[in-house]
Amino acid sequence: MSILGKLLYITVLLLNAICIPSEDRFLARVGLAPATYQRGFGQDVDSSVKYKIIQLIASVRTVMRVPLIIINTLIIIYELILG
Protein backbone atom coordinates (compact mmCIF):
# COMPACT_ATOMS: atom_id res chain seq x y z
CA MET A 1 0.00 0.00 0.00
CA SER A 2 1.30 3.41 -0.84
CA ILE A 3 2.03 6.03 1.72
CA LEU A 4 -1.09 7.99 0.84
CA GLY A 5 -3.26 4.95 1.44
CA LYS A 6 -1.63 4.49 4.80
CA LEU A 7 -2.26 8.12 5.58
CA LEU A 8 -5.92 7.78 4.64
CA TYR A 9 -6.28 4.77 6.94
CA ILE A 10 -4.57 6.60 9.77
CA THR A 11 -6.92 9.54 9.36
CA VAL A 12 -10.04 7.38 9.23
CA LEU A 13 -8.98 5.37 12.26
CA LEU A 14 -8.24 8.49 14.27
CA LEU A 15 -11.61 9.94 13.38
CA ASN A 16 -13.25 6.69 14.40
CA ALA A 17 -11.45 6.84 17.69
CA ILE A 18 -12.90 10.26 18.31
CA CYS A 19 -16.42 9.50 17.12
CA ILE A 20 -17.14 6.04 18.41
CA PRO A 21 -16.83 6.34 22.23
CA SER A 22 -20.14 6.75 23.96
CA GLU A 23 -20.78 10.13 25.41
CA ASP A 24 -22.58 8.95 28.54
CA ARG A 25 -20.59 5.90 29.46
CA PHE A 26 -17.06 6.86 28.47
CA LEU A 27 -16.53 10.54 27.81
CA ALA A 28 -18.51 11.76 30.78
CA ARG A 29 -16.61 9.45 33.08
CA VAL A 30 -13.24 10.60 31.79
CA GLY A 31 -14.41 14.18 31.91
CA LEU A 32 -14.28 15.00 28.23
CA ALA A 33 -17.98 15.50 27.58
CA PRO A 34 -19.09 19.08 27.18
CA ALA A 35 -21.86 18.63 29.77
CA THR A 36 -19.51 17.73 32.57
CA TYR A 37 -17.02 20.49 32.15
CA GLN A 38 -16.84 22.80 35.10
CA ARG A 39 -14.93 25.94 34.84
CA GLY A 40 -12.45 26.74 37.54
CA PHE A 41 -12.63 29.93 39.47
CA GLY A 42 -11.18 32.95 37.73
CA GLN A 43 -10.45 31.18 34.50
CA ASP A 44 -11.04 32.58 31.10
CA VAL A 45 -14.06 31.39 29.22
CA ASP A 46 -12.34 29.48 26.46
CA SER A 47 -8.66 29.65 27.19
CA SER A 48 -7.86 26.41 28.91
CA VAL A 49 -6.47 23.51 26.95
CA LYS A 50 -8.99 21.04 28.30
CA TYR A 51 -11.90 23.16 27.22
CA LYS A 52 -10.39 23.39 23.76
CA ILE A 53 -10.01 19.61 23.59
CA ILE A 54 -13.60 19.14 24.66
CA GLN A 55 -14.79 21.58 22.05
CA LEU A 56 -12.71 19.87 19.39
CA ILE A 57 -14.07 16.43 20.27
CA ALA A 58 -17.64 17.66 20.34
CA SER A 59 -17.40 19.41 17.01
CA VAL A 60 -15.66 16.49 15.32
CA ARG A 61 -18.37 14.18 16.61
CA THR A 62 -21.07 16.48 15.31
CA VAL A 63 -19.59 17.03 11.89
CA MET A 64 -18.05 13.69 11.02
CA ARG A 65 -20.59 11.19 12.28
CA VAL A 66 -22.58 10.69 9.10
CA PRO A 67 -19.65 10.93 6.66
CA LEU A 68 -17.70 8.44 8.75
CA ILE A 69 -20.47 5.87 8.42
CA ILE A 70 -20.25 6.14 4.65
CA ILE A 71 -16.46 6.12 4.57
CA ASN A 72 -16.26 3.12 6.91
CA THR A 73 -18.75 1.21 4.79
CA LEU A 74 -16.78 1.92 1.64
CA ILE A 75 -13.51 0.88 3.21
CA ILE A 76 -15.03 -2.31 4.62
CA ILE A 77 -16.43 -3.26 1.22
CA TYR A 78 -13.10 -2.49 -0.43
CA GLU A 79 -11.20 -4.56 2.09
CA LEU A 80 -13.64 -7.47 1.75
CA ILE A 81 -13.36 -7.54 -2.03
CA LEU A 82 -9.79 -6.52 -2.76
CA GLY A 83 -8.02 -6.74 0.56
Binding site: I3, D44, V49, K52
Partner: protein, 326 residues
Protein backbone atom coordinates in the same frame (compact mmCIF):
# COMPACT_ATOMS: atom_id res chain seq x y z
CA UNK B 1 -1.24 67.40 -46.95
CA UNK B 2 1.03 70.35 -46.41
CA UNK B 3 3.71 68.67 -48.47
CA UNK B 4 1.56 68.88 -51.54
CA UNK B 5 3.04 72.25 -52.28
CA UNK B 6 6.40 70.69 -53.10
CA UNK B 7 4.99 69.05 -56.08
CA UNK B 8 3.97 65.59 -57.08
CA UNK B 9 5.52 63.36 -54.44
CA UNK B 10 5.32 59.63 -54.76
CA UNK B 11 2.63 58.01 -52.57
CA UNK B 12 3.82 56.87 -49.18
CA UNK B 13 4.03 53.16 -48.60
CA UNK B 14 4.35 51.07 -45.57
CA UNK B 15 7.68 49.33 -45.26
CA UNK B 16 6.97 46.07 -46.93
CA UNK B 17 9.24 43.11 -46.28
CA UNK B 18 10.69 42.08 -49.55
CA UNK B 19 11.91 38.59 -48.72
CA UNK B 20 8.82 37.21 -47.14
CA UNK B 21 8.08 34.95 -50.02
CA UNK B 22 11.41 33.18 -49.52
CA UNK B 23 10.63 31.99 -45.99
CA UNK B 24 8.26 29.12 -46.85
CA UNK B 25 10.78 27.82 -49.32
CA UNK B 26 13.35 27.38 -46.58
CA UNK B 27 11.03 25.22 -44.53
CA UNK B 28 9.78 23.10 -47.39
CA UNK B 29 11.61 19.99 -48.52
CA UNK B 30 14.32 20.71 -51.00
CA UNK B 31 13.02 20.89 -54.48
CA UNK B 32 14.66 18.74 -57.09
CA UNK B 33 17.28 21.01 -58.41
CA UNK B 34 19.77 20.51 -61.08
CA UNK B 35 22.52 22.22 -59.14
CA UNK B 36 25.86 20.49 -58.96
CA UNK B 37 26.70 18.60 -55.80
CA UNK B 38 29.76 20.77 -55.30
CA UNK B 39 27.59 23.46 -53.81
CA UNK B 40 26.23 21.06 -51.26
CA UNK B 41 27.32 22.07 -47.80
CA UNK B 42 25.59 19.52 -45.66
CA UNK B 43 22.22 21.16 -45.61
CA UNK B 44 19.52 19.81 -47.84
CA UNK B 45 17.98 23.21 -48.05
CA UNK B 46 19.18 25.62 -50.66
CA UNK B 47 21.19 28.57 -49.57
CA UNK B 48 19.35 31.74 -49.01
CA UNK B 49 19.86 33.15 -52.39
CA UNK B 50 19.16 36.81 -52.83
CA UNK B 51 16.18 36.73 -55.02
CA UNK B 52 15.33 39.77 -56.99
CA UNK B 53 12.31 41.47 -55.55
CA UNK B 54 9.40 40.47 -57.62
CA UNK B 55 7.32 43.31 -58.86
CA UNK B 56 4.11 41.80 -57.56
CA UNK B 57 5.59 40.44 -54.31
CA UNK B 58 3.62 42.69 -52.02
CA UNK B 59 2.05 39.85 -50.11
CA UNK B 60 0.35 42.03 -47.59
CA UNK B 61 -1.12 44.29 -50.14
CA UNK B 62 -4.34 42.42 -49.95
CA UNK B 63 -4.36 41.85 -46.19
CA UNK B 64 -2.05 44.65 -45.05
CA UNK B 65 -4.77 46.75 -43.57
CA UNK B 66 -6.85 43.98 -42.18
CA UNK B 67 -6.48 45.53 -38.73
CA UNK B 68 -8.67 48.39 -39.87
CA UNK B 69 -11.43 46.02 -40.74
CA UNK B 70 -14.36 46.58 -38.34
CA UNK B 71 -14.95 42.88 -38.05
CA UNK B 72 -11.32 42.35 -37.09
CA UNK B 73 -11.52 45.11 -34.51
CA UNK B 74 -14.60 43.53 -33.05
CA UNK B 75 -12.88 40.19 -32.89
CA UNK B 76 -9.83 41.74 -31.28
CA UNK B 77 -11.91 43.45 -28.63
CA UNK B 78 -13.83 40.28 -28.01
CA UNK B 79 -10.62 38.34 -27.60
CA UNK B 80 -9.21 40.88 -25.20
CA UNK B 81 -12.34 40.85 -23.09
CA UNK B 82 -12.45 37.09 -22.98
CA UNK B 83 -8.79 36.92 -22.05
CA UNK B 84 -9.22 39.45 -19.28
CA UNK B 85 -12.23 37.68 -17.89
CA UNK B 86 -10.44 34.38 -17.95
CA UNK B 87 -7.51 35.91 -16.12
CA UNK B 88 -9.78 37.37 -13.47
CA UNK B 89 -11.52 34.04 -13.07
CA UNK B 90 -8.22 32.26 -12.56
CA UNK B 91 -7.01 34.88 -10.12
CA UNK B 92 -10.20 34.68 -8.10
CA UNK B 93 -10.13 30.94 -7.89
CA UNK B 94 -6.45 30.76 -7.07
CA UNK B 95 -6.71 33.51 -4.51
CA UNK B 96 -9.46 31.65 -2.77
CA UNK B 97 -7.03 28.95 -1.72
CA UNK B 98 -3.64 30.60 -1.82
CA UNK B 99 -2.96 34.20 -1.14
CA UNK B 100 -0.70 34.90 -4.07
CA UNK B 101 0.35 38.37 -3.09
CA UNK B 102 1.29 37.13 0.36
CA UNK B 103 3.17 34.27 -1.24
CA UNK B 104 5.22 36.62 -3.38
CA UNK B 105 6.52 38.24 -0.23
CA UNK B 106 8.35 35.03 0.60
CA UNK B 107 10.26 34.86 -2.64
CA UNK B 108 11.88 38.26 -2.48
CA UNK B 109 15.38 36.96 -1.91
CA UNK B 110 18.87 37.87 -2.97
CA UNK B 111 22.00 35.79 -3.31
CA UNK B 112 23.56 37.18 -0.17
CA UNK B 113 20.37 36.51 1.77
CA UNK B 114 20.28 32.89 0.65
CA UNK B 115 23.91 32.30 1.56
CA UNK B 116 23.57 34.01 4.91
CA UNK B 117 20.38 32.13 5.70
CA UNK B 118 21.90 28.76 4.85
CA UNK B 119 24.84 29.62 7.06
CA UNK B 120 22.41 30.66 9.78
CA UNK B 121 20.45 27.41 9.57
CA UNK B 122 23.60 25.35 9.89
CA UNK B 123 25.46 27.51 12.42
CA UNK B 124 22.87 29.30 14.55
CA UNK B 125 24.94 29.36 17.70
CA UNK B 126 26.43 32.84 17.61
CA UNK B 127 23.63 34.69 15.88
CA UNK B 128 22.45 37.50 18.09
CA UNK B 129 19.29 39.42 17.18
CA UNK B 130 16.50 37.02 16.29
CA UNK B 131 13.65 39.47 16.08
CA UNK B 132 12.22 40.33 12.73
CA UNK B 133 12.55 43.89 11.61
CA UNK B 134 9.46 45.86 10.92
CA UNK B 135 8.98 48.72 8.58
CA UNK B 136 6.66 51.49 9.60
CA UNK B 137 4.11 52.63 7.15
CA UNK B 138 3.93 56.15 5.79
CA UNK B 139 1.43 57.13 8.45
CA UNK B 140 3.49 55.51 11.16
CA UNK B 141 0.50 53.55 12.36
CA UNK B 142 0.67 50.19 10.69
CA UNK B 143 3.79 48.13 10.51
CA UNK B 144 4.62 45.13 8.43
CA UNK B 145 7.53 42.78 8.35
CA UNK B 146 10.31 43.45 5.93
CA UNK B 147 10.76 40.98 3.07
CA UNK B 148 13.61 38.47 3.25
CA UNK B 149 15.74 40.63 1.01
CA UNK B 150 16.14 43.20 3.74
CA UNK B 151 15.97 41.04 6.84
CA UNK B 152 17.85 37.86 7.49
CA UNK B 153 15.49 36.76 10.25
CA UNK B 154 12.50 36.82 7.96
CA UNK B 155 11.25 33.44 6.75
CA UNK B 156 11.35 32.77 3.06
CA UNK B 157 9.98 30.07 0.81
CA UNK B 158 12.86 29.93 -1.61
CA UNK B 159 15.22 27.88 0.54
CA UNK B 160 12.53 25.37 1.65
CA UNK B 161 11.25 24.78 -1.87
CA UNK B 162 14.72 24.45 -3.37
CA UNK B 163 15.94 22.20 -0.60
CA UNK B 164 12.86 20.01 -0.93
CA UNK B 165 13.55 19.55 -4.64
CA UNK B 166 17.23 18.98 -3.91
CA UNK B 167 16.34 16.39 -1.30
CA UNK B 168 14.19 14.48 -3.77
CA UNK B 169 16.91 14.50 -6.40
CA UNK B 170 19.61 13.63 -3.90
CA UNK B 171 17.77 10.57 -2.64
CA UNK B 172 17.08 9.47 -6.18
CA UNK B 173 20.72 10.01 -7.09
CA UNK B 174 21.95 7.96 -4.16
CA UNK B 175 19.67 5.07 -4.99
CA UNK B 176 20.81 5.40 -8.58
CA UNK B 177 24.43 5.11 -7.51
CA UNK B 178 23.48 1.95 -5.69
CA UNK B 179 21.85 0.70 -8.85
CA UNK B 180 18.34 0.60 -7.45
CA UNK B 181 16.85 3.49 -9.34
CA UNK B 182 13.30 3.26 -10.58
CA UNK B 183 11.21 6.11 -11.94
CA UNK B 184 8.57 5.59 -9.25
CA UNK B 185 11.18 6.55 -6.70
CA UNK B 186 10.69 10.23 -7.47
CA UNK B 187 7.02 10.04 -6.60
CA UNK B 188 7.67 7.98 -3.52
CA UNK B 189 10.33 10.31 -2.12
CA UNK B 190 8.32 13.40 -2.96
CA UNK B 191 5.24 11.94 -1.29
CA UNK B 192 7.19 11.07 1.83
CA UNK B 193 8.69 14.53 2.09
CA UNK B 194 5.42 16.31 1.44
CA UNK B 195 3.52 14.12 3.88
CA UNK B 196 6.13 14.88 6.51
CA UNK B 197 5.68 18.59 5.95
CA UNK B 198 1.88 18.41 5.90
CA UNK B 199 1.63 16.28 9.04
CA UNK B 200 3.99 18.62 10.79
CA UNK B 201 1.93 21.65 9.81
CA UNK B 202 -1.28 19.95 10.93
CA UNK B 203 0.23 19.10 14.29
CA UNK B 204 1.46 22.64 14.67
CA UNK B 205 -1.94 24.06 13.81
CA UNK B 206 -3.58 21.71 16.29
CA UNK B 207 -1.19 22.86 18.97
CA UNK B 208 -1.89 26.47 18.10
CA UNK B 209 -5.60 25.78 18.39
CA UNK B 210 -5.28 24.06 21.73
CA UNK B 211 -3.09 26.80 23.12
CA UNK B 212 -5.29 29.46 21.51
CA UNK B 213 -2.49 31.07 19.60
CA UNK B 214 -4.21 33.27 17.10
CA UNK B 215 -2.17 33.36 13.95
CA UNK B 216 -4.35 33.38 10.90
CA UNK B 217 -1.84 35.19 8.77
CA UNK B 218 1.15 33.13 9.79
CA UNK B 219 0.36 29.77 8.28
CA UNK B 220 2.78 30.48 5.47
CA UNK B 221 5.43 31.33 8.04
CA UNK B 222 4.95 27.94 9.61
CA UNK B 223 5.15 26.23 6.23
CA UNK B 224 8.39 28.06 5.53
CA UNK B 225 9.91 27.20 8.87
CA UNK B 226 9.02 23.56 8.60
CA UNK B 227 10.90 23.40 5.30
CA UNK B 228 14.24 24.51 6.69
CA UNK B 229 14.98 21.09 8.10
CA UNK B 230 15.64 19.82 4.60
CA UNK B 231 18.88 21.79 4.61
CA UNK B 232 20.17 19.83 7.56
CA UNK B 233 18.84 16.62 6.09
CA UNK B 234 20.64 17.22 2.81
CA UNK B 235 23.91 17.98 4.58
CA UNK B 236 23.57 14.88 6.74
CA UNK B 237 22.78 12.58 3.85
CA UNK B 238 25.52 13.84 1.58
CA UNK B 239 28.27 13.81 4.22
CA UNK B 240 27.24 10.41 5.52
CA UNK B 241 27.10 8.94 2.03
CA UNK B 242 30.51 10.33 1.15
CA UNK B 243 32.09 9.12 4.38
CA UNK B 244 30.44 5.74 4.44
CA UNK B 245 31.07 5.10 0.80
CA UNK B 246 27.43 4.71 -0.14
CA UNK B 247 26.35 2.36 2.61
CA UNK B 248 23.56 4.42 4.05
CA UNK B 249 23.49 7.03 6.76
CA UNK B 250 24.88 4.96 9.56
CA UNK B 251 28.20 4.96 11.31
CA UNK B 252 29.33 7.23 14.05
CA UNK B 253 30.26 10.03 11.67
CA UNK B 254 26.84 9.92 10.09
CA UNK B 255 25.10 9.99 13.43
CA UNK B 256 27.33 12.81 14.66
CA UNK B 257 26.52 14.93 11.65
CA UNK B 258 22.86 14.09 12.06
CA UNK B 259 22.81 15.09 15.69
CA UNK B 260 24.69 18.28 14.92
CA UNK B 261 22.34 19.36 12.15
CA UNK B 262 19.35 18.36 14.26
CA UNK B 263 20.51 20.49 17.17
CA UNK B 264 21.29 23.43 14.87
CA UNK B 265 17.91 23.20 13.20
CA UNK B 266 16.13 22.92 16.53
CA UNK B 267 17.87 25.95 17.95
CA UNK B 268 17.07 27.86 14.79
CA UNK B 269 13.41 26.91 15.05
CA UNK B 270 13.23 27.69 18.76
CA UNK B 271 14.60 31.16 18.21
CA UNK B 272 12.65 31.86 15.07
CA UNK B 273 9.25 30.54 16.11
CA UNK B 274 9.39 32.44 19.35
CA UNK B 275 7.67 35.44 17.88
CA UNK B 276 4.90 33.26 16.43
CA UNK B 277 4.07 31.21 19.49
CA UNK B 278 5.14 33.53 22.25
CA UNK B 279 3.95 36.98 21.34
CA UNK B 280 5.32 39.37 23.87
CA UNK B 281 2.59 41.97 23.88
CA UNK B 282 -0.11 39.40 24.35
CA UNK B 283 -1.86 40.97 27.31
CA UNK B 284 -1.11 44.51 26.26
CA UNK B 285 -3.06 44.37 23.06
CA UNK B 286 -6.21 43.30 24.79
CA UNK B 287 -8.73 45.75 25.98
CA UNK B 288 -9.31 46.55 29.63
CA UNK B 289 -12.39 44.35 29.63
CA UNK B 290 -10.41 41.22 28.98
CA UNK B 291 -7.44 41.61 31.20
CA UNK B 292 -6.06 38.21 31.85
CA UNK B 293 -5.33 36.85 35.21
CA UNK B 294 -1.57 37.11 35.74
CA UNK B 295 -1.31 33.55 36.98
CA UNK B 296 -3.35 32.34 34.03
CA UNK B 297 -1.13 34.22 31.65
CA UNK B 298 1.97 32.76 33.21
CA UNK B 299 0.74 29.20 33.02
CA UNK B 300 -0.30 29.75 29.44
CA UNK B 301 3.13 31.08 28.59
CA UNK B 302 4.64 28.07 30.26
CA UNK B 303 2.46 25.75 28.23
CA UNK B 304 3.42 27.52 25.05
CA UNK B 305 7.09 27.30 25.86
CA UNK B 306 6.76 23.59 26.50
CA UNK B 307 4.90 23.15 23.25
CA UNK B 308 7.57 25.07 21.39
CA UNK B 309 10.26 22.91 22.91
CA UNK B 310 8.32 19.76 22.09
CA UNK B 311 7.85 20.86 18.50
CA UNK B 312 11.38 22.09 17.91
CA UNK B 313 13.17 19.12 19.44
CA UNK B 314 11.06 15.97 19.54
CA UNK B 315 8.89 16.42 16.49
CA UNK B 316 11.83 17.63 14.45
CA UNK B 317 13.94 14.72 15.63
CA UNK B 318 11.29 12.29 14.48
CA UNK B 319 10.79 13.86 11.08
CA UNK B 320 14.46 14.37 10.39
CA UNK B 321 15.12 10.77 11.26
CA UNK B 322 12.33 9.71 8.90
CA UNK B 323 13.78 11.83 6.13
CA UNK B 324 17.37 10.78 6.69
CA UNK B 325 16.53 7.11 6.45
CA UNK B 326 17.39 5.72 3.09
Amino acid sequence: MQRATYGRSPPLHHPVPQHVSTVPQLRSPPPPTSQPIAGYDGSPYPQQQPQPPLPGANMFGQYGNFINDPAAQLASQFGQTAFRQGQEYIEQNVNRFVNVSALKHYFVVTNSYVINKLFLVLFPWRHKPWTRRQAAGPSGQEAWYLPPRDDINSPDMYIPVMSLVTYIFLQALISGLKGQFQPELFGYIATTALVAVVVEILGLKLGCYLLSVSNESQLLDLVAYSGYKFVGVIVTISIAEIVNGGKGTGGWIGWTVFIYTFLANSLFLMRSLKYVLLPENNSDSRGPMQTMHPLDSRTKRNQRTQFLFFYAYIVQLFFMWILCRS
